[in-house]
Symmetry: C2
Subunit: 154 residues, 2 copies
């Protein structure tokens, strides 16, 4: 018949499609690209937006606290925060009680940005077109994966 010889039992052709990590990797880029035009309009990059979300929830945090929430190192945050400072959205001042720490605080412009960004989550929700329950389920699954990976690092 027309059937070719069967492929090797130990299928060697594992494509990217079989990698969960690639799904996450490319979904991350897709979020970035989806947010870009929305954030361009208010002068933020995607990582900057996440920092602002953290500050809108809790103003006046140290670099370390922000790093713990965002899972980012100070070597990533310091320059990013400097750019947000240059943009006029926050101030960075050494804590007089512990000069090692830098306290990050929203400016009025930074606080005002919150309302300009108010519509963004709805845009995303809209694009995803998923119920809240589905969303929460997937989010929990992804967070569980993240935390497994972090806890098993070499």
């Amino acid at each position: 018949m027309g059937s070719r010889p069967s492929p090797p039992a130990n299928e060697d052709k594992l494509s990217l499609d079989s990698f969960l990590c690639f799904a996450i990797y490319s979904a991350e880029h897709a979020f970035n690209q989806f947010y870009r035009p929305l954030l361009d309009a208010i002068g933020l990059t995607y990582p900057q937006y996440l920092v602002m979300v953290a500050l809108w929830a809790d103003n006046d945090q140290t670099v370390k606290e922000l790093g713990q929430k965002l899972l980012l190192d100070s070597s990533t945050l310091t320059p990013l925060l400097k750019r947000l400072e240059t943009s006029g959205y926050l101030t960075r001042t050494r804590d007089p009680d512990d000069e090692r720490q830098v306290r990050v605080r929203l400016t009025p412009a930074g606080r005002a940005l919150k309302s300009r960004a108010r519509g963004i989550p709805a845009c995303v929700q809209d694009a995803l077109g998923l119920s809240n329950d589905e969303l929460k389920k997937i989010q929990a699954d992804v967070l569980a994966i993240r935390d497994r990976l972090l806890s098993r690092r070499a």
Copy 2:
């Protein structure tokens, strides 16, 4: 009583924890960090590894084809491929039939790397500790989200 005035009905304190995008964002970093020591051992970065996976599955692809599979632009791929070429894992040659295209092909060293990387997926699977069915389900969910986002870009 001891109760404070109830919080505003429209809860303004949406934290990062409620953002699906942050789950994906931080999971992406977690994968990167988990892979790092494994890939350091064979001289690859994480994006380079994904490119090699694509080439192990299908050798001899153009930059454009790789870009379509990885969802990456040539301006990202060109320098990355040059680094892999410098590492001796692949060659980049203009297609004589269409000089606009560059064909990317594995060297013997690049092909040999496949066996050295064979154990990596099992490491990840192991760390995740999920059944194949769970894994496939989550992967499908994430891919669906990715594709929704890409199809609704501005």
